[in-house]
Symmetry: C2
Subunit: 332 residues, 2 copies
């Protein structure tokens, strides 16, 4: 049997966040749907960047944020994602490695620039994302290193990967390799609009046995089952053959299987600054807990703790050691 070198391997869109504060009027004037992620092309990226205020550049990417979170808990973490060998791509690479994550995906030497998400944060702390995927379109099955997949207890994938054809194939490749090696596969639905784009395929993955764990927030779950009623959606999730983890912002999370439902409260916070990365960091804590054989409630608490840290500052990468915070709370 292969040694388990990693607790969690993430596969996702490697993105650098360009974060700016804004007001509601700017969202309205630019017809932006608050709280959502939309994909933009290069001309729109240029236009929006020119129109937005001064910005901070911080490494991001949904699953990349989660993987950095796993490492911050003291977990052994690896990541697969595609940047270009440009200034911003080198910064992404520096950051994820500086967090102790194994990251060896070959950067693209030509083609589109490293992906950027222009994130507008309103005074209520809500973030609205405008993502130019750039080099992410070049992530391909050949980037999925079989040895790394087989050496990882969990492989964590993002729904956003389905927006690019090669990345979707890389996703399928990684999931297949993981199961062949006896590992577990987890998916985050990413965004309710992403679910809208790929609903049938996500349901197919789950029902075909390609997934073991599903992360979703309320909006995504309702979108998945095309219902406005949360309880209906939850009942449908209960019938799937996965461990379902549903985040509900300040109301904490629900951990759902066919036989059991656990409600875990959120951690209290002092001040909401920026919700960017809340779901990503929740998944980090939950997956780290699973990799360390904790029960569902402890996993939910670890997720809530990480989410609480991330929403109290700007950016989706932890500023404090999640391991230290978890030890303070008696969770590790």
């Amino acid at each position: 049997m292969t040694d388990l070198r990693y607790d969690v391997l993430g596969l996702g869109n490697a993105i650098v966040d360009v974060l700016a504060r804004t007001d509601e009027a700017f969202l309205l004037a630019n017809e932006l749907h608050k709280g959502a992620m939309r994909l933009i092309d290069e001309p729109e990226a240029e236009r929006l960047y020119a129109a937005m205020g001064p910005a901070t550049i911080i490494s991001g990417g949904s699953v990349a944020n989660s993987i950095v979170g796993v490492a911050s808990f003291g977990g052994r973490a690896a990541y697969i994602g595609k940047v270009k060998s440009d200034e911003v791509g080198r910064h992404f690479t520096h950051d994820i490695r500086a967090n102790g994550v194994h990251f060896a995906t070959k950067p693209a030497e030509d083609g589109p620039a490293t992906a950027r998400s222009f994130i507008l944060v309103t005074p209520d702390g809500e973030r609205t994302m405008n993502t130019y995927l750039g080099a992410c379109q070049n992530l391909a099955p050949a980037d999925v290193d079989q040895e790394t997949v087989a050496a990882s207890a969990f492989v964590y994938l993002e729904g956003y990967l389905w927006d690019r054809e090669h990345a979707k194939e890389a996703f399928r490749t990684a999931a297949g390799m993981a199961h062949a090696a006896g590992r577990k596969v987890a998916l985050t639905l990413s965004d309710s609009f992403c679910v809208d784009r790929f609903r049938d395929e996500f349901l197919g993955l789950m029902r075909g046995g390609a997934l073991d764990i599903l992360f979703a927030n309320e909006h995504e779950l309702k979108s998945l089952y095309q219902t406005a009623d949360f309880d209906t959606a939850l009942a449908a999730l209960r019938d799937e053959k996965v461990l379902g983890v549903v985040t509900r912002s300040a109301e904490g999370c629900l951990v759902v299987t066919r036989d059991e439902t656990h409600a875990v409260p959120a951690f209290p916070i002092e001040k909401l600054v920026d919700t960017t990365g809340a779901g990503d960091l929740f998944a980090a804590g939950f997956l780290f807990g699973l990799a360390r054989d904790r029960d569902a409630v402890t996993c939910g608490r670890l997720g809530g703790l990480a989410a609480a840290e991330i929403i109290q500052h700007v950016g989706a990468r932890p500023e404090a050691s999640l391991k230290a915070l978890a030890e303070q709370e008696g969770l590790l």
Copy 2:
């Protein structure tokens, strides 16, 4: 007489900050002098970047930070500085313009990359800077636009400009043009090591009448007059033909002329996060006050207010409207 289109025109090294948290051990291991700015070449920049932790990229540059501060107070502000037309240079340009600052210096098309300052912030909030000047070496007298200088009530220069030959000439050119147009010239001594490098030249500038206002902190002032005794240094400053403004961190500032000394207390803060930009933003408030004909104490209070804002978050660009803060405090 030319119209005064700008309250303050800044001329400085156009730098992007790469900010990371670190601990005292990292400073020791890398033989870094805590709190100081040292110049590094490209290989050392690469080495240090590889060794340091995950980082946030925010536009910086001492005088550029001040000029953005002037704009945040509602002042009319302009900036001259040299970036390269690379990704980081475009970000610097975006940010300063998004702050409402007039910035029209032609970027370098080739040669070294846009300048970066690798800033290490220790848990006590102190910052240690390692600056690769890159494209700044290409700032030249031809970049100093005579019309803009003549249209600015104050021209604000940084001592750091003396580290590069052409930039030093640009400094002299700007100061000469300003006086020819009947404007005032201000200098920040920048850093005690910078004063060490150029002591005689800075004293010569002041005594030759090239300067009207001098900004210094305690360390810089003691270095200027080569004394360990603050009162001795202050007495020497009093004899110069400039308005002297001496910042003393939590003890506020002293505004000194041959005839008068005003002590102005600092603004209280809740929590010190990152001292990066404290002096820059102090100068912003003080110069804005001067441009609006406020008395020395009010200028000192405006400076203290801006410094208090900047040290309570990461980065040297204001996150709140300084105009709104000043209005709340009854200073505007």
